[in-house]
Symmetry: C3
Subunit: 282 residues, 3 copies
Amino acid sequence: MPPGRAHALPSGMTQRLRSLLFVPGNRPDLAAKAPRSGPDGVVLDLEDAVPSGDKADARNAVADVVGPLSAEVPVYVRVNPPGTPWHEGDMAGLPAGIAGVVVPKLESLSQLIEVSGSVSAAGIVAGLETVRGVMDAREFLGPPVTACYFGAEDYVYDLGGVRTDDNAEVASPRALVAVAARLGGVTALDMVTLDFGNTERFDREAHEARALGYRGKLCIHPAQVALANAAFLPTDQEVEKARKLLTAFAEAGGTTIAFEGQMVDEVVAARARAVLAAVDGN
Amino acid sequence: MPPGRAHALPSGMTQRLRSLLFVPGNRPDLAAKAPRSGPDGVVLDLEDAVPSGDKADARNAVADVVGPLSAEVPVYVRVNPPGTPWHEGDMAGLPAGIAGVVVPKLESLSQLIEVSGSVSAAGIVAGLETVRGVMDAREFLGPPVTACYFGAEDYVYDLGGVRTDDNAEVASPRALVAVAARLGGVTALDMVTLDFGNTERFDREAHEARALGYRGKLCIHPAQVALANAAFLPTDQEVEKARKLLTAFAEAGGTTIAFEGQMVDEVVAARARAVLAAVDGN
Amino acid sequence: MPPGRAHALPSGMTQRLRSLLFVPGNRPDLAAKAPRSGPDGVVLDLEDAVPSGDKADARNAVADVVGPLSAEVPVYVRVNPPGTPWHEGDMAGLPAGIAGVVVPKLESLSQLIEVSGSVSAAGIVAGLETVRGVMDAREFLGPPVTACYFGAEDYVYDLGGVRTDDNAEVASPRALVAVAARLGGVTALDMVTLDFGNTERFDREAHEARALGYRGKLCIHPAQVALANAAFLPTDQEVEKARKLLTAFAEAGGTTIAFEGQMVDEVVAARARAVLAAVDGN
C-alpha cells in the first residue's frame, strides 16, 4: 500500500477487547471475582445464563454489582433480545457507569434504531447469532455499535444445523461477521468455546479468529481469559520477524526485496508495521 | 434462546425429505422398483438423465408410471429448465398426483413467477446449480418453492471450475444455499454424490450437510437411500446426550451449568430439545 | 445440461492468462528478461514494487521498455491506485501498445467509471484487494474490465487479519472473487505466492484456484511461470478420462451410464467436453 493512501484503522478498532468474560447476572459472587483473571471486559448476562423465573432478581443483582466492579474493569450488561418480554425492562434498568450494552440476536437496522433510542452514552455490542443477523450485518454495523460478536451456538440453532468440533458449519458466517465489522468500523469478537477445559481448541480458534480479522474472543470461563489475552497479540516471533523485515526493507530504500525466501514490497512492510503497532499498546 | 422468543421452524422445514431418489424418466422399469430402497421421495427425471431424442417418449413413460408409483411414495417430476425447447411441454404435461415439480437451474424471481403460473397444486423444488442461481437464491426462495437442492456438478460446470474429492470448490456456495433456504423457509437438499459405490464419501457429505442445515440429500442410486435416511436423523449418541443434558439442566432450574465439560445455557438446551423433536417424527 | 441451453463462456474468458508475471517498473533489466520464462502476460508495476521517491523515474523506465517488450509478450502496466498522488500521472503517461492497465484496489463502480474515462483502447485488469472491493466486486466487474485478480496480501492487511500458510483466512473472499468474475464475464486470476521458492505451495494453490474457477495466477518470480502455465491446463489424466467418458456416453446414446464407478449424465459429459476444449487452445 503506497503511503499516499489513507488507511487508518477505524476508531472502533482501537478499543482493546481481546477477552470479554461472561458472568451470569444472577451470580454476584462470580461477578466480584471476575477481574482476577484479567479480562479486557466483563459482561453481566441477563439473557441465556438466567432462567425466566430469575430475570427480575438478576436485574437487581446486576445493578448492585456494577458500581464496585466497574472501578476494576470495563463492565457490560447483556440484555434480553428485542421482542422478548424482558427486553424493555432490561434496557430501562441499565445501571450507570457501564462501558456498553450487549444486545443479543440483533438482526436489522430498524431493531438497532429502536434499541439505540433507549441507550444514552454507552456503546452497543451487537450479538450476531441468527442467520438473518449474520447475513445482513453489513446493513447495520456502525455507530452506535462499537463492537459485535459472532454467536455460533445460537446461529447453528437458528440454521437448524449441528455444531461440530471442526467448526466447518460456521466457516462462512464467521468470516462474514469479521468482514461486516471491518466495513462498519466495529471491533469483531469471536464465538465462545463451550468446552472450557479444552485449551487446545480455544487457542486454535483464537488464532484462526485473529487471522480472520477478529480482535478478541468471548470467554465463558476465567481460565479462557489468559489464553485470549495472549492469542490476540502478535507473537514474539512475529514481532521479531517484523523488526528484521522492516530494517531490511528500509536498507533497500523501500524497493522490492527478497527476505527470508519471501518477496517483500510495500504491502508486506505495511503489515509488519501493523504488527509492531499492535504490540505498542494499540 | 429465551422462551419468549418465537422460534418455530418455518413450515416448509417440517417436510421430511432425507432422501430424494432420482430415476431417469425413460426407465419405467427402474421407477417401479424405486420404492424398495425406502426413499422419502422419488424424482422422475426428464432433464439430464434423458437424451434429447428421447424427451417426448420419456414424458409419456413418466405419465404412465406416476399413478401406481405415487400410491407408494411421494413422486416428483424434474422438468427441463426454463429456456430449453422442452420446458413448456414438460410443464404442460405434468401428470396429476405428483408431490411437486423439480425445476432445475432456477436463477431469478422472474423465472420463478413464470414457472409457477404453470403449476397448480404441487409445490416447486428449486434446483440451484448455476452461479447466478446460488448467489441470488435468497431473492426467490419462498412459496411456492417448498424445497431446493444444491447442484454441485452443474454449478462447477457453470463456474468453469473443477470438481474435486474434497469439495473445497463448493464450500461457499453449499453453505450459502442452506442459509438462503433457511431465510426462505424452504427445505434444503444437498448435492449428489456421483461415485455411488463410495459409501464413506456419501456418509461424510451427508453429515457435513446436516451440520450446515440441510435436511436431506439427492440420491442417484438406491444404495444411497438408506445412508441418507440414517444420516439426516440424530444419532443414538446425540439423543442420549440430549436427554441427559436436559435432565441436568432442568434439575439446576434452568441456570447455567457445566455438563460433561461443556458450559450449558438456554441455547444449548434449546438445541438438545431440537434433537429430541427431530427423532419424534418431525 | 441439455444441449438446448446456451452456455457459451463469456468472451472475456477466452483470454489466456494462466501466468501474469510482475516486474518492478524501476527494473528495466528484469523487464527485458521477463519473456524468457514464457508468461502469458507481463505486468510492469508502478505501485507496490516502487518506492515513493522513484515513482517518476519508474514511469519513464516503463515507457522506454514497453515498445520492445510488447513485441514479445502482452504487456500490462500497473498504475498506483485511485486516490494516490501518482494515479492521475500514471494514467496520463500510459504508453501506447499495452495490452491493458492494471488498476489496484478498485472498489466501486464510480471509481471504475472515473478510471475508464482515462483509458482508451486497452482493457482494465481490476485488482480486488480491499474488503470493500472484494465484497462489492459483482457490482463493477464487466466491460471495460476484462480480467481481475484477488490480492490476498492487501486484502488481509485491510481486514486487519493475519496471512497464514493454510490460507483459511482468505477462503471466502477467494471464492467470492471467482464467482463475481464469472457473473461479470471476466477472467479471474489468483493471488500471488510470496514465498517464491516454495513450489509445492504454488502448485497446490494453483490447483485450488483452477477448481474455484480461476484461469491463472499472478507470478512474482520467473520460476513460478512454468508452474502456472502447467497448472491452468487440464492434466493428461483428465484429458484421457474425458475422452474415454465421452466415448462411452456417446455409445450409450447419451443416456445416463455408470462409468468407472461414477454416474454420468449430460452435465458430467459437458464438463468432459470443456476439458477437451481447454486443451485445444481455448
